[in-house]
Symmetry: C2
Subunit: 347 residues, 2 copies
């Protein structure tokens, strides 16, 4: 992508050299990352490279031949959530004839897999950009990509996205509110929330949606019904239910911050001989296939996961083509899917 502006001839080392007031060999050194260049000279050359939009022969060829590679970075591919998002990206990539490079990153480590190296490599190989489905990159690192004109889209960021970085997510607050309203409408009043990563933006939005729904109905928010699981995973649900069962006044319904958490609740409930929804109602969040296929089938706030993947890629390709985006933040609507795990409270 990154097409040369029409009319302006494609910049060469010589053009850049003239602009920066140096010779071509010196520019060559900077481009190739040699270190025998004075800091000031380097800065001037970098500015010229940036301003003229210089591309290496390799990049130029990649650009003209339409080779477009988008890199997708995730922590691990171990949840239905990531899988469905990735599948959305892959499906749309097949349509758009874009290649998708997938990489997983444990913790970010210094060295060849660092953001700096990654950015350099993407520039070298003329990739169109990067879709980030992990919290392995800091805000500053993401902005570094953008400064280098590498388009980045973040999917459902853990932290509130800055206006500099493009992000795609779901309406978490509205979803949390809708989940809670569903339980309220069934007649529940003692409703618990088992959350995931506490500091995560999406978790807070879901929690505040929950509180807003309760408050709107005049149901007091009871802190003992708000449990932090720490992660969006199964074990949070197991531990969360255990904690809630220890209460004097047990909840009759649980809103879990993710389908995985809900599945943990489901498993733990069975071990205590509790029937869902007979003894306790349960609603998840995400709308994953895993929840759809569980027994009982899980009522859940569905995020359009495949669509989020598609939206991220679409937005990335627009950026790569130099189009102006309407908005730096896209939030796709969530929807309560009522299945088998919710019912009016017993008695």
């Amino acid at each position: 992508m990154r097409t040369t502006l029409p009319g302006r001839p494609k910049p060469t080392l010589a053009t850049v050299a003239t602009q920066a007031g140096v010779s071509a060999p010196t520019v060559s050194k900077v481009v190739n990352g040699r270190d025998d260049v004075a800091p000031e000279t380097r800065a001037r050359i970098l500015a010229a490279l940036e301003q003229l939009g210089y591309q290496s022969p390799l990049q130029r060829r990649a650009a003209t031949e339409g080779v477009t590679v988008v890199e997708v970075v995730m922590d691990v591919l171990d949840s239905a959530y990531t899988t469905q998002v990735l599948n959305g990206i892959l499906q749309f990539a097949a349509v758009e004839d874009v290649d998708i490079m997938v990489s997983v990153t444990g913790r970010p480590e210094p060295g060849r897999r660092s953001p700096e190296r990654r950015a350099q490599r993407m520039l070298d190989e003329g990739r169109a950009g990067m879709i980030v489905v992990t919290s392995a990159f800091s805000e500053a690192q993401l902005q570094a990509f953008q400064r280098r004109r590498i388009p980045v889209v973040v999917i459902d960021p853990l932290n509130p996205p800055s206006s500099d970085v493009v992000s795609v997510g779901a309406t978490n607050w509205a979803g949390g509110k809708a989940a809670t309203e569903h339980l309220l409408e069934l007649g529940h009043r003692r409703i618990a929330y088992i959350g995931g990563i506490e500091r995560a933006e999406c978790n807070q939005a879901r929690l505040h949606g929950y509180m807003a729904a309760l408050t709107a109905r005049g149901v007091p928010v009871d802190p003992q019904y708000i449990v932090s699981g720490g992660r969006f995973r199964r074990d949070s649900g197991v531990a969360g239910l255990k904690a809630l069962l220890g209460l004097e006044n047990r909840p009759t319904a649980i809103f879990a911050g993710s389908d995985s958490i809900a599945l943990g609740v489901l498993g733990e409930a069975a071990h205590h001989g509790l029937r869902v929804p007979g003894d306790i109602s349960l609603i998840g969040f995400d709308g994953t296939i895993q929840g759809e296929e569980s027994v009982p089938a899980l009522t859940s706030v569905a995020q359009p996961l495949e669509e989020m993947g598609r939206a991220a890629l679409r937005s990335l390709l627009r950026q790569a083509r130099g189009e102006v985006l309407d908005s730096h933040r896209v939030e796709l609507a969530t929807q309560v899917i009522v299945r088998e795990s919710t019912a009016p409270p017993a008695g």
Copy 2:
């Protein structure tokens, strides 16, 4: 990969020209696909290009920089099975510093996404090879890749792998036998098998393992207990259980050809008020996380899915390095994981 032979200098257009007895510009034309070259001259030049192993600057740079891209082709990313295999590939790729390009293919279509185009593209871009997790390629197409010296590894092929194509799978026959033995040991005699894709090698192996175990214990194989689901998916389990419940002499245990099928059985059983394992025992195949997290947790014949992904990539990289493989077929061991869905028959 495709490293230049040591000692011999990398061939340039000039080298090739000398070898073919023409001038450099003429070779340039052939390389760039111009048509103003006499057929005989072209043939001579093509021969020289091939013999000297000429690489374009783009290819050379890719080769010397050790850019190694492995393409993973799958149908869709929608099952825990494919997800875990892919995760294994990705994890190992991070260790080996290999880039993974993932693409999904519905039906193979003519045109730019055809195997021929794919092969050409891989050659052009210096990719190391291809891991195939789909039945979208025919045997002949896979061999075409190998003829072009593009290494290919097939994971758990639907059809019996030919000895020309390297493949990775699991011990399906032994797994089917072990699953059935587990049920026999619990005391079951009326044991049903609900299969997936009927003609698939892996399905047949599982079925025959089942029959072998029954026969070895002197339990007659009863055709009415063998149900073909048609696919390895949830709906096969739903339909399969319905069919089995219509029998006069219902089975007391079911061996499902995949975890997805087993999950369908589980859901359908709940709708009939049947308890698992109280009323009926159930064992799956695959050992996916989804089965592990279901309620009740699914007893299953685990395939080492992540390990299979790793093994495939390892084998591919060996091929790409020109190493000789010990075997064209790797079968990793399966293992019965006993969880909650199997128990002695009632009464």
